[in-house]
Symmetry: C2
Subunit: 237 residues, 2 copies
């Protein structure tokens, strides 16, 4: 829960009362293991999930069995805030490793959005998620191979930095190469070669679920990465 609050505070003022309201909203905690399904696609949703710890993949598979990871959730992310109005998710939420997830009923979320301050907090998180998706569309459309992968590492470095998970020593990223390939929209064979290229260029190393950026500026250049979309500055409300 501290991670969630840390992320909120990094972008907006948060009063102590609001923080208390959030913390005491009556979260039910639950732990998932690697490859456990947290939310099934199409399933009727009655509560909203907050990731306290670990990593989650948003997984979509079409008729032909091709799997695409649409996005990654990290500690402090509201995983299915849109489910509150849509009542379901069209993709699957899968734990990428051991995960702690807290959930509250939709009804409680609706009560919370009665307060303008809490409403803004939730809206802001949804908006950030939206621009992250937009940036990823840009990356998938206009970057290739190495550039896309570099983008992933850049974004993760910053998103995980916000919640204190990424440090000088790097950060955990519990994805197999196959899974990262499903995320980047390429084959695992090709991904492997891209990783090799990044490693040999001494930009970033990635092995056994741990990533370490060796050359931040070089990596950003390779990805043509502009961090503006993450809205890392404080937002005036």
């Amino acid at each position: 829960m501290d991670r969630f609050v840390a992320k909120l505070r990094s972008r907006q003022a948060l009063s102590n009362e609001d923080e208390a309201l959030l913390r005491d909203a009556g979260w039910a905690e639950r732990r998932y293991g690697r490859h456990d399904t947290i939310v099934r696609p199409g399933e009727a949703l009655t509560s909203c999930h907050l990731l306290l710890n670990g990593f989650v993949a948003r997984c979509h598979e079409d008729g032909s069995g091709a799997r695409q990871i649409i996005g990654l959730g990290v500690a402090g992310d509201l995983l299915d805030i849109h489910g509150v109005v849509l009542g379901r998710l069209d993709h699957e939420l899968v734990a990428l490793g051991p995960c702690d997830v807290a959930s509250i009923p939709h009804a409680r979320v609706r009560e919370m959005t009665g307060s303008p301050a809490l409403q803004k907090i939730i809206w802001l998180q949804a908006a950030i998620e939206h621009v992250i998706q937009a940036a990823w569309i840009q990356a998938l459309g206009r970057k290739r191979g190495v550039g896309k992968i570099a983008h992933i590492f850049c974004e993760m470095q910053l998103r995980l930095g916000l919640v204190g998970i990424a440090t000088r020593m790097g950060f955990p990223l519990p994805l197999s190469q196959q899974e990262m390939a499903d995320y980047a929209g390429m084959t695992h064979v090709h991904l492997n070669r891209c990783l090799k290229e990044l490693r040999e260029a001494r930009l970033v190393s990635f092995a056994s679920g741990w990533a370490k950026v060796e050359d931040w500026e070089g990596l950003k250049r390779m990805a043509r990465f502009d961090d503006g979309y993450l809205n890392l500055r404080l937002i005036d409300l």
Copy 2:
């Protein structure tokens, strides 16, 4: 404004009072011409835009001049609802043809979200936009060439159908091939060959800004299109 209301009613019950509130919210109308910029990236936003008529592209260009169209806005879409909390957009809104745009100050939007019913209406629109993006990520990652283009036509047929623009005769789609290529993340040369393939397979024709689906089932099969994400059914609130 009727298009907006039509779209809302297609997905949720809308009371007459709420409809009146929306209509009389004090919209300021303005007309834009082809390639006019409606919102500049990074610009401080003070009002929120609703597209009454026409088509808008969300345009993102990175340092190297490569342009990616992140999404398309059609009549009835709230174009920059996330700008209310973020205060800016990281992409540009460009009119793809003559457009009628209505706008209201952010302050008014915030007042409206005081009402639970209006709040849900706005949330739902934001959520739909989000799942449309997710579906496009899936398409960019896992479909190629012809499949991606077929997806665009499928989605447009349904989205424009909701607001009464797509009919048996087809629908307008004022994109040059270069622009559609920027949307699909490919070169205009390759796009041209994909369009040719779709045309010769008698699935869809597209010329001078007008698209006509010749074989809906065939087109859906080609795109492996599943319309579930558009949430076309009524949503229980």
